[in-house]
């Protein structure tokens, strides 16, 4: 029995190896892979109490609209959000892996994983999923939002497909629609002031409008007309959903204007 003592030291990937559990996204892809579902526009911006994440609900496969109620903003744990653009299959599996990895570390080591530790774990997952991404199959781009309790502020991190991590001062966006609206973020910051000074409602209004602009320039982005986008925040109190009524009222005003 004592020789079964865990040797993983809280490393979830090692644990899975020891248990013989396969993680498909870490394995080289089959050359005949099909075109899978893709998620498109996700946005993260700071506001005065933390970080707001917002995403349309459309998933596409080639030129087919695959699903109109996709969730692209997910909880990594009670203090961390991840917004995903790119291959749905890979991203979901990666998120599942990360969720378990954080919980496993905290429970097995009896201490929480640090924010830095969580961010590196995201990098490791991306770099291990790289072989697939290189063949054009299963690449995805995450934006990680967290509330830094030491600095008492929300923080936004984005990654490239190889796992390099960058921190953003104000906003982050990923997906095909995001490329088309980058300049608009800059315009908002320069004309209306930084996002991190905005109240939640104001930040919501700006980002919903950005999403609608992205949708008008990118067929793969669902926008705000037909399906209500998904919005979540992370603040000192943790992760929470923006209530549907608030989103609906802003949606109405924007579409009327």
């Amino acid at each position: 029995m004592p020789d079964q003592l865990s040797i993983s030291h809280g490393d979830f990937a090692k644990l899975l190896e020891a248990y013989g559990v396969r993680v498909p996204i870490f394995e080289p892809p089959r050359p005949d892979s099909l075109v899978g579902a893709h998620g498109t526009t996700v946005i993260a911006v700071k506001f005065d109490r933390g970080v707001l994440n917002i995403a349309d609900r459309r998933a596409t496969a080639g030129n087919v609209i695959f699903y109109e109620e996709a969730e692209k903003i997910l909880k990594l744990d009670d203090e961390t959000l991840i917004a995903i653009a790119g291959s749905y299959a890979t991203a979901f599996e990666a998120v599942r892996f990360l969720q378990h990895s954080f919980k496993y570390y905290a429970r097995s080591q009896l201490q929480e994983m640090s924010l830095e530790g969580k961010l590196s774990e995201v990098s490791r997952v991306l770099s291990r999923a790289l072989p697939g991404a290189l063949q054009g199959i299963g690449g995805f781009l995450p934006i990680v939002s967290a509330f830094d309790k030491e600095k008492n502020e929300g923080r936004i991190f984005f990654y490239d497909v190889m796992g390099a991590r960058f921190e953003s001062r104000e906003f982050g966006a990923a997906g095909s629609g995001a490329e088309r609206i980058r300049g608009a973020f800059e315009y908002i910051v320069r004309t209306k002031g930084p996002f991190r000074k905005m109240k939640l409602e104001e930040a919501l209004r700006e980002t919903l409008l950005l999403l609608e602009i992205a949708a008008s320039l990118d067929t793969a982005t669902g926008g705000i007309r037909q399906y209500l986008p998904l919005a979540k925040t992370v603040t000192a109190e943790g992760v929470s959903n923006v209530p549907e009524e608030i989103l609906r009222s802003i949606q109405k005003t924007l579409l009327r204007e």
Binding site: M1, L5, S6, L15, Y19, D78, R96, R107
Partner: protein
């Protein structure tokens, strides 16, 4: 080295005696269903954690050798997370963790004459959608386990366990709120402590007050419904203070 059947039986008996001897003085642990979830309560020395989160709906508490508790805990955490990822979190059940992952391995280890026995008696708890679905598994050092509803107890001696169960069975049918459950759990703990140490003190509050001169109350709640991913949390000093003897 050769073993005759006689040696083998003798070894097991000696091992059991060795373990029982060491468990006798251990601080008991109490598990109790309440409206808000499942409570786990014990009194411990300041540096020794005795209650642990295992998985989303699973917790573990026990008495015995700290290193052996740690062994059991790690096997349970490893198994639960590997399974939870490979299948789904809903497939990680107390029955699989205790009955499949732990019990046979502990039995093998116990009956191996060349190994030191684990000095541990553990209580696993699983919170359900409703209090009737809460489950408690008592896991013994020899790998034997038993299932209980509404409450569970792990104590140093059989008589302490029985005395504690008598206290708990009075309350558990009424499905108490958290604070009422916590008070009963503390009473059960004190009754178990008194039984094991054959103290003459009759008031359970006095037994508890005496124990708190050198120890502290450790209490955790596995919440029945929570917007948070992690339902397990320790109760804070502020939450405990009103219920403790001054």
């Amino acid at each position: 080295m050769a073993f005759t059947p006689y040696d083998w039986q003798q070894t097991l008996r000696q091992k059991a005696d060795y373990v029982e001897d060491r468990l006798r003085e251990g601080s008991p642990v109490v598990g109790l269903s309440c409206h808000e979830g499942v409570l786990l309560v014990t009194v411990r020395r300041a540096q020794q954690q005795k209650i642990f989160e295992i998985y989303d709906k699973l917790a573990f508490a026990g008495l015995g050798n700290q290193a052996d508790l740690e062994t059991i805990r790690q096997i349970a955490v490893d198994f639960a997370h590997a399974e939870g990822f490979a299948r789904s979190p809903q497939d990680v059940s107390i029955q699989r963790v205790v009955g499949v992952a732990l019990s046979p391995a502990m039995k093998r280890s116990f009956s191996d004459p060349l190994r030191l026995p684990l000095v541990v008696r553990g209580l696993f708890a699983q919170v359900g959608d409703s209090p009737e679905r809460d489950l408690f598994y008592l896991l013994n050092y020899d790998g034997e386990f038993s299932l209980g509803y509404h409450f569970g107890v792990a104590a140093g001696t059989e008589s302490a366990r029985e005395a504690m169960e008598r206290v708990l069975s009075g309350l558990s049918k009424k499905m108490p709120k958290r604070d009422a459950a916590l008070e009963t759990a503390l009473e059960a703990w004190a009754v178990g402590r008194r039984e094991a140490s054959s103290e003459s003190e009759t008031d359970w509050r006095a037994v508890l007050a005496e124990a708190l001169k050198t120890g502290i109350v450790e209490a955790a709640l596995l919440e029945r419904s929570s917007p948070r991913e992690r339902r397990f949390r320790f109760l804070s000093e502020d939450e405990l203070r009103p219920l403790l003897p001054r």
